[in-house]
Amino acid sequence: MNDKWKIILGLVVFLAAVTFPVWRGAIAGAGEPPELQLPEGKTKCIESKEFMIDNHMNMLDEWRNMLVREDIHEYTSKEYGDTYEISLNKTCLNCHKKTEFCDKCHAYADVEPYCWDCHYDPKGD
């Protein structure tokens, strides 16, 4: 029984599958990392940039519980000590534009936060 061609076919399929990102990258390129539009005239976010990159989602989660459930309206920056009103719309979106900031990274990282099911950017989606 000569089953070598079947095995080789299987191998080729396997190789094609595991190298999918490679040949897909060869066809479509690496893709550009998002270029974010940073708010003008601002030098810092609520916490350090590194902290915000990694933990903004948890901060928002905390905020929503603080505001909605505990009726706490102010947040004091651990990094800088200044206070902010707890509000996605009034605070975050006051500086950042959803389409130019949030969406870009989320699209790049293929993250679909359900924040936007309810919240929106008054400056336009």
Binding site: L11, F14, G25, G31, E32, V111
Partner: protein, 330 residues
Amino acid sequence: MKVIIGLIAVSVLFLAGYGLSGAAPYLFGVIIPYAAFALFLAGFVYRVLAWAKVPVPFRITTTCGGHKTHDWLPRSKYDNPSNAVETFIRMLLEVLCFRSLLKNTKTQPGDDNKPVYATEIFLWLGAIVFHYSMLVVLLRHIRLFVQPTPAFVTMIERADGFFQVGVPVFYLTSFGLIAGLVYLLARRLFNPQVRYISLLNDYFPLFLLLGIGISGFWLRYISKADVIAIKELATGLVTFTPSAAILSSISPLFFGHLFLVCVLLMYFPFSKLMHIAGVFLSPTRNMANNNRAVRHINPWNYPVKLHTYEEYEEEFGELMKAVGLPVEKE
């Protein structure tokens, strides 16, 4: 002892990735991943071709049900396939549903101490949960390597993250992967029979996969990593334009995770993990039981020394004649 060596080995490897990547980010972020992936591909192909090179001299199907005979008798098409299509389905059931494991039983002493056979589905369940979670986790990782993320990956992510728990949203397979591995490990440790047959070769990959699973879990849910930078690195790697600059902005935990993955890739072709390919080649499963209808060819079939009828009659001819048995030479 084997357990401890396995655990220590994986811990040391993780710490190497975690601790040393700062000193040599390019090595851990670019060179080793490339080397590991190349070794994985080459080793995998080498191993499969090495198997393919060896002929299958006989058709030794394990038949697990009635064969094809009179068409009025019931038969088991997919446990005793008689043609290529039925064999294909048998293999699908085996590969996709772990059919043989589903038959598993556990022998235990009965009321009179004679053996009885209990239904035992937990090995099957653990294996299914682990393997499918692993598959989904791997597919989900495509989002980090391909820009834009393919639609099928997004769909998988949506289904996997259906339940809105925590931020970032909790994936069922994150839990499935680790739970499956913990079960398989616990079984190895606490089932005396399985513990007795286990080798370091069994513990090491389990710990390695657990290390990868837990560090990945940690990266996603606990100490977050800069996904954008990681994706930039990953897409750079797969398009052979790795960016060295980005390496410094990624947390060392990620390098611990990545290094364990590289170790797994390198270890894979030289270990029992090759069962992923081997299952397709198993001669007792991937052949139809139609040997009486279609002759199977053995490429190295060679003549052997026989005892011919002539030699037989030479020895017994007279005796045969004496009792009236017909002979060639009267």
